[in-house]
């Protein structure tokens, strides 16, 4: 399993603290595993909660009409890359 980049680790920690994922260690998250459904098993309520946290932390909004959503939500790595591109802080 690939090691996490600093931003991936930061986003992993944000996910864990925002969603109260007990027993999940940031360093152990597979950056290429799915976040929703399989993998971490997040649902649409988690997605909204996470989107709110991302907008507070990184200063931009995830949008429902982004045609890249399937890719953005696919994994920790993809989400982190998207944050890297869009962050305003």
């Amino acid at each position: 399993m690939a090691a996490l980049s600093p931003l991936e680790l930061e986003v992993a920690r944000l996910i864990i603290s925002t969603l109260n994922l007990e027993g999940v260690v940031a360093e152990d998250i597979d950056p290429d595993a799915p976040l929703f459904g399989e993998g971490l098993g997040l649902d649409s309520i988690d997605a909204l909660e996470l989107a709110l946290a991302i907008s507070n932390t990184y200063g931009f909004q995830l949008r429902s009409d982004d045609t890249d959503n399937a890719r953005i939500f696919a994994s920790l790595r993809a989400l982190s890359q998207h944050i890297e591109q869009r962050r305003t802080r």
């Binding site: 997040l42 997605a47 909204l48 995830l62 429902s64 009409d65 959503n69 939500f73």
Partner: protein, 299 residues
């Protein structure tokens, strides 16, 4: 097991629904309503799961063993509202005598320009509310809906009224509630039904008709995250061409304390369930959850 309703009632009513819509629009409401009697009788005799579900529910709400005539009346009430849905979607609202209670709450909320959540149920016909809101009042209303396992109903509804079809937010994938948030920020009302648990829903156990019952936690969680008011919305069929719509303020804002999240969630979900029970008792034959509602009871 909890997927049971997904396939059964929709499949069971799917064929009948097509028939009812087709006949209803072509033959008119009077003839359509007469035809509901043999159609309902057919379902009473052949559809074991809705029949069993109806009996179980009526036994609980009436407090005695229901007879076939009660179950027939229950299924007929459902069929009548399905037929009326065809007229409503076709824009024929003038056929109906619709009384609205608490409408000022919604008018005031809309005037404020802020969005809100309309929390409904499968008690009665939410479609009445939707059609009136969207086509007559031009309220910005979006409805969260499971459309994937609801295809027959959705297809007919879309064909009858594309304007209504455009107001659906399909429950599908992580962006579902992002869409709900964006709509709310534009000042929309978000309609959602709080009385059915679907496969992966987070659940709360609430007291309902004297029994521990599972309810989805989603609507209250959504309201808490979006920090918006929640209004209870029920549209009950009162027989003939009469409908009554009820609005109540359930919460101005729902705050889930981080340390007491579960307890707060429980409190608000139970508040909804208590009001639901009140309306269920006022119109028991409007209960349109024809599946084994208490399947995993006893916790």
């Amino acid at each position: 097991m909890s997927r049971q309703w997904v396939k059964l009632p929709e499949r069971g009513t799917g064929a009948a629904l097509g028939l009812i819509y087709w006949l209803g629009i072509r033959l008119g409401r009077t003839t359509g309503r007469l035809l509901l009697y043999p159609i309902t009788l057919y379902f009473l005799l052949t559809a074991a799961i809705p029949r069993r579900a109806s009996r179980e529910f009526l036994r609980r709400v009436l407090g005695r063993e229901p007879g076939y005539r009660h179950i027939f009346r229950h299924l007929l009430c459902f069929a009548a509202t399905l037929l009326d849905r065809a007229y409503l979607l076709a824009g024929q609202t003038e056929r109906f005598d619709i009384q609205i209670h608490g409408g000022q709450l919604i008018l005031d909320q809309m005037a404020s320009g802020r969005g809100c959540i309309l929390l409904g149920s499968h008690l009665g016909n939410f479609e009445v509310l939707r059609v009136l809101g969207v086509t007559l009042c031009h309220f910005p209303l979006k409805v969260l809906m499971n459309i994937d396992h609801n295809q027959v109903i959705t297809r007919f509804a879309n064909a009858l009224n594309p304007e209504i079809a455009a107001t659906i937010i399909p429950i599908r994938g992580p962006e579902t509630l992002l869409k709900a948030r964006e709509s709310l920020e534009e000042g929309c009302m978000i309609g959602t039904l709080g009385d059915r648990v679907v496969a992966d829903d987070r659940i709360m156990h609430c007291r309902f008709l004297g029994k521990p019952t599972r309810f989805p936690a989603g609507p209250i969680l959504l309201a808490a995250m979006l920090r918006c008011p929640v209004f209870l919305a029920m549209a009950l069929y009162r027989g003939g061409n009469r409908y009554e719509i009820y609005f109540e303020r359930l919460a101005d804002v729902i705050v889930l304390d981080r340390r007491q999240r579960q307890a707060n969630l429980q409190y608000w979900t139970q508040r909804y369930v208590d009001r639901l029970e009140y309306y269920v008792r006022s119109a028991p034959y409007n209960w349109f959850n024809f599946y084994d509602y208490w399947q995993e009871d006893g916790f």
